[in-house]
Amino acid sequence: MSEVAPRTARTLPRESIVAALREAAKNGQPALVAFLTAGFPSRERFREDLTAIASAADVVEIGVPFTDPMADGVTIQRASEQALRAGVSLEWILSELAALPLLDTPLLLMSYLNPLLAYGLARLAADAARCRVCGFIVPDLPFDESDDFRAALAPHGLALVQMVTPVTPPERLARVAGASQGFVYAVTMTGTTGKSVTAPKEIADYLERVRAAAAVPVCAGFGIRSAEQVEALRGLVDGVVVGSALVEVLERGESPQRWLAALRPPRR
């Protein structure tokens, strides 16, 4: 196990996520957490797409493709399959990140557990930290099973973001949200990624409970695709995650910066 520099010199990676979200959300407008599947629509454009998205978003989630993405809807399934056919792997993603000029925007990897296990958790934490990854989101690794991975990430100061959902019981929600690092990923609907939602009263109550339990910012995700939805979440969350809709923008060959910018209201 490698020793890590004392925590005084620089901000821990997981704290840089918190700082970026708090800074972006300081006027009440939700920060933007943007998702793209690595190597989709093309391997050649990955660094360019990532850089463009990082310039318009506050935090970026890079999706590691997996053959069995059971928590994802059709858009991300399709993107994952295509990326895998193009030969995208965790090794490749990390080598691309290592070759990237330093970005101001914190990066996270979002992956199902098995590719991470195959890489080796301790080796992954070290390599990810070296490539300036700030944390991980693992949809099929619930909090109860996450001790090993959190222990591997801790020496490098990397975050393991926890998810909560509207059906999470109150006691569990408090425990999981309280333990989340970087931010709390508050799923705003049951269901897989990619379907639209509105923000009714129950969602507002739910997000209030998450915020009360969380020590880090709260970002709402699953199904967010319009400026109206983002505006409806103002004051309820610190950030919003946009996934499937942004992947569709990239798939259509449109500008991700312009699309992301349109999610934010004009600055006063």
Partner: protein, 418 residues
């Protein structure tokens, strides 16, 4: 995840198996198992665990289940001596006849039990996945019997291979949804059934068909299939006057085999063998022999053995038998393999077909291609154990395999001329 490396650790784990300590309170079978599912499904798994622990131990529920197993499923299923196979192979062959259970395979034991459990838990609808179609048919029948609507997800490739079963499910009132994503087989169907459940985790009950998935599924399926081994053990003692020297079953996800094996695990004199699909050969993608060729990993909710590449991507599999064509295996099998209580071997497509032919001609029984793997394993075992007793789990009947058998056994010149 505590590995089991030393002889002492293996011995202790076996003692824990025999003492009924697995799954433990975290849903583990030694290092295997657990609950690796999206947060959305955690409350549903927790409710199911509480429900299963309560109702599977409830005398009234058990009485009702046993009555349905007798009156509707037709249990106990027969234990048939196989005199002609015995003469041919040189050992005493006994067959546990799950092919005689209602809907033609062991799958009904689990489908009925879980459908009754779903009713007790207040589910409004049932979703299920199916590979060979046997679990789908069993679910459709069980849901009709208990009065719950049923949706079955089935890989588009499997729908072609198992067309008769698609019609049976629809006749029984189930909605069958073709899955065109991924590998278009069982694995993609499980992904899709899970997505359906994620969308409505409270009103929907996911009726998983094999001893896989996140805790408590491997436990529930084992408990509901263990009737096979309990019956078979008593029948052997009564009919043969002794336990078998060897016990052999096919292993895909591993439900019929765990069901048959469980009652015999403490019988140290019984050699227990699980037979996996050797397909066309040992190379990745050419077989579905997860225990023999796989490495540990997480798929569909549990930490077990998987057929995967070095990047942790799940591999497509091949077997002539759709019911064995799955890249994972139940976590309890991974444990039994690692402690050496069960030995796992492969039988290839050709050996399985030959076993279908022999069983048909000599015993007048058309076995499922899955079960034929167990028969071929028994033939191999018999070759070195003359005169010994071997009990084979005949997990299902082969009627559903007619499309495949027409293109293979029946396409051979000597068969076509008959």
């Amino acid at each position: 995840m505590n590995a089991i490396d030393t002889a002492a650790e293996r011995e202790r784990a076996l003692a824990d198996v025999l003492a009924g300590r697995y799954p433990d309170e975290r849903g583990r079978y030694g290092p295997f198992g657990g609950r690796y599912v999206p947060e959305t499904l955690i409350p549903a798994h927790e409710r199911l665990e509480r429900g299963a622990r309560r109702w599977l131990a409830d005398a009234a529920f058990q009485a009702e289940l046993n009555q349905e197993l007798r009156d509707w499923v037709g249990r106990p299923t027969a234990l048939s001596p196989a005199p002609h196979l015995s003469r041919r192979w040189g050992a005493q062959v006994w067959l546990k006849r799950e092919d005689l259970a209602h809907t033609g395979a062991h799958k009904i034991n689990n489908a009925l039990g879980q459908a009754m459990l779903a009713r007790r838990l207040g589910a409004r609808r049932i979703v299920a996945e199916t590979g060979a179609g046997q679990h789908g048919v069993a679910c459709a029948a069980a849901c009709a019997r208990v009065g719950l609507p049923c949706t079955v997800y089935m890989g588009a490739l499997d729908m072609e291979r198992q067309a008769p079963n698609v019609g049976r499910m629809r006749l029984l009132g189930a909605k069958v949804v073709a899955v065109n994503s991924g590998d278009r087989t069982l694995r993609a169907a499980i992904d899709e059934a899970l997505r359906d459940w994620v969308a409505d985790p409270t009103g929907t009950y996911y009726l998983l068909g094999s001893a896989v998935g996140g805790h408590p599924y491997p436990y529930i399926v084992r408990e509901l299939q263990a009737v096979i081994g309990r019956e078979a053990r008593a029948q052997m003692l009564e009919r043969a006057g002794a336990l078998p020297d060897a016990l052999i079953a096919c292993v895909g996800g591993g439900s019929n085999s765990i069901g048959l094996f469980h009652a015999f695990l403490g019988d140290a004199g019984v050699d227990i063998i699980g037979v996996e699909a050797g397909g066309r050969g040992a190379a990745l993608g050419e077989n579905a022999a997860t225990v023999v060729y796989g490495r540990p990993g997480v798929l569909h909710g549990s930490y077990s053995l998987l057929l995967q590449d070095r990047h942790g991507q799940i591999q497509e599999t091949h077997s002539i038998s759709a019911g064995l064509d799955y890249p994972g295996v139940g976590p309890e099998h991974a444990l039994l393999a690692s402690i050496g209580r069960v030995r796992y071997e492969t039988v290839d497509d050709g050996e399985a077909l030959e076993a279908v032919r022999e069983c048909c001609r000599l015993e007048g029984i058309l076995p499922a291609l899955e079960s034929a793997h167990a028969l071929a394993g028994a033939r191999r075992w018999a070759a070195t154990h003359a005169g010994a007793r071997v009990l084979v789990g005949l997990s299902g009947r082969g009627d559903k395999d007619m499309p495949t058998l027409s293109q293979t056994l029946l396409a051979q010149p000597d068969e076509a001329q008959r």
